[in-house]
């Protein structure tokens, strides 16, 4: 494995050749916020929170979808980037109805934690307050589109890890909605294997175990690395 050298926040550091920039930055102990990225899933660059400044690029780039290259000069935090991140987060909150006080994931939510970490104390944009429903037709799980931030971790884990591809997206842009099968009720889905991976990787309370009350939904994503390691390193065939 060849090693490359790049500059992150003024420090010369080394990374693996072909490594994505987000991992290279995090390997240096630098905290870079993300919501759509999850180790083990393909990268998407959807949440835009890992924006970094790379010398020679006219605009900020998402670290998760950029490959680290030799001689790259990267800045992860400055006044402009911090301001953009906060703005992105505020827009995420304004887009749907995130009512933490009565949410199943209250106090265990990546979006809520992120808001606290980035010091988001209010939303400067008008809330869109869309009228979105919930689907609790499935026997074990429910989806509340009000709390969905379209990170699409659920869609990716369903396709890439479980191989069911039950979940997908309809419409475009701000009108995008995560759907099951070809927009059927979840309870009527024929492809869903009821594995629950989508629920565990969801960063907010959008996907939840049915019957949960406020703050009761605690998710664990560490199963993903275990499954993938087992698969990639053939651990199960020994």
């Amino acid at each position: 494995m060849s090693v490359i050298t790049l500059t992150i926040n003024g420090e010369l550091v080394s990374a693996r050749s072909g490594q994505n920039l987000l991992e290279a930055i995090r390997d240096q102990g630098i905290k870079l916020p993300t919501l759509c990225y999850l180790d083990g899933l393909s990268t998407r660059g959807g949440c835009r929170l890992c924006l970094v400044d790379i010398s020679g690029y006219p605009r900020l780039q998402t670290a998760c979808t950029t490959t680290a290259t030799e001689g790259m000069v990267v800045v992860t935090h400055n006044e402009k980037i911090n301001r953009y991140r906060k703005m992105i987060l505020e827009l995420t909150f304004a887009e749907r109805n995130h009512t933490c006080a009565v949410c199943v994931s209250n106090e265990h939510c990546e979006l809520q934690t992120m808001a606290a970490e980035l010091g988001m104390d209010h939303v400067r944009y008008d809330y869109l307050n869309p009228q979105l429903g919930i689907d609790i037709s499935h026997e074990k799980y429910g989806v509340d589109h009000n709390r969905c931030i379209l990170c699409l971790r659920c869609v990716r884990v369903c396709d890439e890890v479980e191989g069911a591809h039950t979940l997908d997206v309809r419409h475009r842009g701000i009108n995008s909605r995560v759907i099951t099968d070809l927009n059927r009720l979840w309870g009527e889905s024929e492809s869903c294997t009821e594995c629950g991976k989508c629920v565990e990787v969801c960063p907010t309370g959008a996907l939840f175990d049915k019957g949960m009350s406020v703050g009761e939904m605690k998710k664990k994503t560490n199963f993903l690395r275990r499954i993938l390691d087992g698969r990639e390193k053939n651990q199960w065939n020994r």
Binding site: A101, V102, I134, I136, E139, G211, V214, G215
Partner: protein, 480 residues
Amino acid sequence: MAADMKQKVTIEPVTRIEGHAKITIDLDGAGKVADARFHVTEFRGFEKFCIGRSFWEMPGITARVCGICPVSHLLASSKAGDAILGVRTPAPAVTLRRLMNYAQMVQSHALSFFLLSGPDLLLGMDADPAERNMAGLIKLHPEVARAGIRLRAFGQALIRALGDRSVHPSWSVPGGVRSTLKEEDKGHFLAQLPEMYSTLDTALDLMKDALDRYASELDAYGNFPSLFVGLVNSDGGLEHYDGHLRIVDSRGRIVEDGLSAEGFLDLVHEGEETWSYLKFPYYAPLGPEKGMYRVGPLARLNVCDFAGTPRADRELRQFRHFGGRGKTVNNSFYYHYARLVEILHSLERIEEILADDILVDHHIRSRAGVNQNVGIGVSEAPRGTLFHHYQVDDNGILEKVNLMIATGQNNLAMNKTIKQLAGRFISGDKLDEGLLNRVEHGIRAFDPCLSCSTHEAGRMPLHLQLRDVSGALLDDIKRG
């Protein structure tokens, strides 16, 4: 004042109550009271915006109705959820819910008696308004204020020990509760009980002093016949969590007994008026006039045969003397007294439950899907009987929500109380702060919670009148 000049006296805002309201008093040409109204000027709308959500979320959502009595909504909502699941809730969970309900009864009643009504009762109705408030009470009677605050803190701490937080806990759920009480907490609360009983002794003495002090004017504080509604247990004893509904009239005769929540709601009609967001429920078979009923501490003591705990029963016997032989206590001023009897009863029940081994049982939550499409949950909130009535589809999505709140059920009686008080104390040539405060106190006796009670959107009749400076009507819009 010219003889034909009508006058309107407005008390706005009404202070030391939970929520936003005003009182208007209409005086006729002779300066006498023609009418008095209690206007609830805030609006919440939970009945509307909960539609489309899941019934599993409702305890958490409806607990947010109120910061004073979140536990009442939590319990009524969980019970409605129990009914939708259609399975039996484990006995330890029921006991734990009862425990939390008694804790809330203690904290809410302590707030009403010591901090909201205390300034009137202890400092006097005519005291300087700059002093006649909580800060004044703390300054002039620090030991009473401290004892009241500690009593409330006891209730709040017990709620917190069970539900992790004292305001808006989301602990009770359809099918049971989320966690049990820790063994070490039991001893902690039991050790505090002697101090709480002693606070109650002081409070009862203060209450009886107040009754003596106001003896000459007491009759004006909402003393009239009405029906009384409340839960009683299977033996007819005082009940706050389950049991059946009983209605008695002002002569102590049982009008209805053994009613289920469904049966009771069939007998009640919810009237509406253009000038208030609060509905006006009444017992339909007798009509809006004679069907007026009161709920809450006074009603509960009037409908039950006995309290069922020794100290409260002793006090209840004294309380009944104020009604006369075999009759109910009809004066709304005695709500204060009834509140104290209920705190006493709650403390005794808390003591019983804490000594009970059932609390260590770990089976506290039954799980099931939707087995019934309609669920009604009823419990006794500090202010009176509370109903949560849900209709869900087969997946558990709410299609209809009706919350019938204690304060709403007291609405007709509150209006009658302030009219009686205004008639006695207010006239055109004599308007002073102390007299107006008496009218306001008539409302405080009911300890209304307006944040709890104003929910339904869309059907509220509205009446708008646009007038020019001379008072001539320019436009008149009616809805509903």
